[in-house]
Symmetry: D2
Subunit: 339 residues, 4 copies
């Protein structure tokens, strides 16, 4: 009954097995190994396109390195005011970009809207050399509110950015959950919708610790390998990052894991609303934000169910439940039974 976060989960058995297999023998270091070569090819298959792929150890590093590849220090990155890159990475994007400005915008249900982004672009563009110019738009899919950008929303947003000469980044820490929810292909959910660079998460969805930065135009990767090394994100024994990713992508494991997490969130949301609880946001992936009574909170906590207090800007708070690949019907039902 641990719904504190999907990053509290362990490692999927298939991934653990791949690590075990990779553990013996010697291999070229710093990414010159066979595992890395294979996943580079595998990602091209998954996205139906020649892509440039680079692995990192954490999602913060993946995001910050991706942003730094497109946003010069004297530019601005437009993002949602609740986005992880703005709120929860202790300024990593500012660090890796050498001080680009995160221009935060409001938006309902954790999502940005095209008109608001357009107005912000106009504002930041209006200042000649005095204002940081808008270089990059960053979208989070699943959003921080657990909601999913629909194809038409994404296309409207990326169109506005392209029109302004900006690139578009997707923070896909929960990209798997979004793809599983949308029923689209990975290609449709990313570059076909106008995304230039994707932080492709795996850790929250069953890996031990690996994320990928994917450039849909390999030319745009530029000096990424140097940036990554300089940031302390080039692992000497890179095979162990690649081995995780290989198992994760193998036979659609990543989408099966995400589908399970999503199903458990739906089950939980249904159960909670049946108990009279009100949802804060629509449940579209593996996150449930819900208003609970004091009694409900107490019953859950005392019964051993783990969830997060989520502070709302107005000073009130909601409860956040995140379901992982490892959650089972029994976990959800046990939690619901406490109410």
């Amino acid at each position: 009954m641990d719904f504190g976060s999907d990053n509290r989960s362990g490692v999927a058995p298939e991934i653990m097995a791949a690590l075990q297999t990779a553990a013996t023998g010697t291999a070229a270091s710093y990414g010159a190994d066979d595992w890395t070569a294979r996943i580079e090819k595998k990602f091209c298959d998954v996205f139906e396109k020649d892509v440039a792929v680079f692995l990192t150890g954490t999602g913060t590093a993946a995001n910050a390195l991706a942003l730094a590849s497109f946003a010069p220090p004297h530019s601005a990155i437009l993002c949602h005011e609740e986005s992880h890159i703005h709120v929860s990475e202790c300024g990593a994007p500012e660090f890796f970009t050498h001080g680009a400005k995160l221009a935060a915008l409001p938006g309902e249900n954790g999502k940005l809207h095209a008109e608001r982004v357009e107005a912000a672009i106009r504002f930041w563009k209006a200042g000649r050399d005095h204002r940081p110019y808008p270089s990059l738009l960053s979208l989070t899919q699943l959003s921080e509110a657990g909601t999913v950008y629909r194809p038409a929303e994404l296309e409207a947003l990326t169109a506005v950015a392209k029109e302004a000469g900006m690139a578009v980044h997707m923070d896909g820490a929960r990209f798997a959950n979004a793809v599983a929810a949308l029923g689209q292909s990975p290609a449709e959910a990313s570059w076909k919708a106008g995304i230039d660079v994707l932080s492709f998460g795996a850790t929250k969805n069953g890996a031990m610790g690996v994320e990928a930065v994917i450039f849909f135009d390999p030319e745009k990767a530029g000096d990424f390998t140097r940036r990554r090394k300089r940031a302390g994100q080039l692992f000497s024994k890179s095979r162990f990052l690649a081995a995780q990713m290989e198992a994760y992508l193998e036979d659609g494991l990543w989408l099966r894991l995400a589908a399970q997490a999503n199903a458990m969130a739906a089950r939980l949301a249904e159960g909670l609303t049946a108990k009279g609880a009100r949802l804060l946001y629509p449940v579209e992936g593996n996150e449930v934000f819900v208003f609970l009574t004091e009694d409900q909170r107490r019953a859950l906590s005392e019964g051993g169910a783990v969830f997060l207090e989520w502070d709302l800007p107005d000073g009130s708070s909601a409860a956040r439940f995140v379901t992982s690949f490892a959650a089972a019907d029994a976990d959800v039902d046990a939690a619901l039974a406490l109410l």
Copy 2:
């Protein structure tokens, strides 16, 4: 009839004379000269306190260096969303602080309000190591809207910051205009109201190009001299910065110049409202924001009056007039006569 900005003005004759006097003979370089020693003492007199003073060539440098002295890279600086440091310095604060986050807040009439600041502090403090913590509050006096923080407003704001363990910076590019408007002593308008570090402007108010960073607790200056050198702001012939500042402070010249600028803004505002124009903000210093009709704009422009189009967030715009120390009744009256 040039009301484009006070930084379009020239140099006050007293300041120009001081430069002329300083121009001959040799002097110790890099701030070891007698002029610098004298103004260091002079500032202590002006502020009735032992202060640490450092000169810079531009206001952007003064602000950015002052901010960097208090805000570590992994922290946040709370400021108004229209503040110069956030909007108009091409990210200099982010550059000099090595990537601190400017957490921008809304507020009427260009001013921050204590409750909103308090809520923001709570938000940024809530994230353990994940959110940049709030290290510094930056206030602009005159504000970007030409308004003045009243003593009680300042005290409420600095109290909230102190309570949270934060320092308070004042961007005083137009500090002289504020002091002249408030009729307070410089001490009352700064450290006695809880300000820790002040960017003390002179350039907009009659100098050629010099600003001062003033630490009201000299201990807090820390490594400022190294930061300044490293930022390319230690002038080899520093006597020419200090000579300007010496003349500026001599016999209250700075306040006389500011009072003249303020009086001209009042005269202009009165005349404009008499012509039926509506003010956007109260006119409290040397800036007038006003809604003009198309006919009024045309009449002014064709008659040779210079002012700035000021974009408003909602897409509309107002006209901004700034009066300088060098503006005279005749300039104002000539502009008004065009309407």
Copy 3:
């Protein structure tokens, strides 16, 4: 017969088993897990002292974060001109310190000498605010040449640094090999010899990917947790870093692994010299630098032995062999048999 580098080795079985054990079930994320709590205590035991310990994913990150904790941007870090931090981290120390200067010094056998360091300190101190002042001395143990600083050498170096008010960092990517070679206690090899902060390596010596930064005065850690998060080095599933480290430290495994690696290097060096090859540096840990004839190189390469071409400043080159924990007598003997 892979002597390309110790980071080409796999994972020690004891460490792999610990990962397997940790793989199931949920755990608090971001370092709030039990594994992390245990290794924090364990390191205090190993070093016979209250220490502050932080895990990172790579050695470059460990070094750069450790350096940044002591070296302000406007200061200089004294280091060997062949040191990894200067030559082989693509500027990570400059990135993490926000631009501190690496002041590189020569020294025989990969080691710095106290007199030379003292002269450099004098030089960098002589410039008031104009020169970056020397804040930190960084020593590599094993050195880049595979040699070991003797206790007296270390003490002379750290005494010079302390006298100048500087802190001392040790890059211990191969600290285990040095301790095994010296026969000292970890405490004697570090803080008792004047080291303030240690990059404690595990990856090259049998871990999958984990290093520790150890502050011998916990107070000095300062904002390390924020720096680490900001640098993308706070792993959400931190238990998997801690689990590796726990197994590594358990029952002295780390020293047994290192002793094996060292023994294999000694065996290899002895065999090579018996074949008439000349050593470039004394073999004191798990690295062998040796001059080979063209025939010898060819015989080894064609026979499948892997080693590295090591460029020398004068344009010539030597061969570098590194033995890992996983190397066995048979590997060494098979390589020697090729000659």
Copy 4:
């Protein structure tokens, strides 16, 4: 008798007059003024080429901004180990480049030599993504030792850099003295010899405080205006920088001032050697490095002659005399008479 440094001199009367003229009336701010437009054109004439020109307030800023335009953070700048950018700018190049490495090289008489630069390029290029790659070569003309690179020396050095795909920067804080000494045209002394970007000094040679960064291929200036603003080097009253520069370039004033300074250095050097003093470096511009006896030092100091103690790497020291545009025969003779 003040030979402490040329930056201890005052302002040339022609330049002071230009400032006085510019002091009244309003003008467009931030470089949109007529003075700036005129000097942009004037520099094209002086260098017989379309160039992009940007003014800064200090030489440190000019150098650091010029370097940052060519050297990415993950690259290395090759420079002389005694160069101002390496030793005397408190790390400004590292700050403005966001952490590029200054790879310092030795060289006789303050000058770099092509073979040594070539070897360094080979070294830094050899490390794939692990070593910062060499992006920029920086030469100082006059060198820090007061010597002048001859045309053939410059050409050999820039050829080596171009061959490696590197750009070449010239720190011309005393460019005027070098051009006056060489008897070449400014074009021959810069872009015709392979220089890509020049820090063109004026402050040491009679200006109050202004330097120019000159890109010989205007395309290469890139985002310079944003970088300059962000660095706090865009002066609101830019006309006062441009007015200085206009007077400085008018009718060859800059070369007349430099010729006078050089002549005084020659006179001083001749006199000193006649008194038996030994020169440390050949005197080719306006600097004299000389070994003095204790008696000579005392006689000079007690007589009121100002000069600098210059520390030598071996712990001994020499005396440095710098002559400025304002030095006269009588100053030199008076100093010599003290011996």
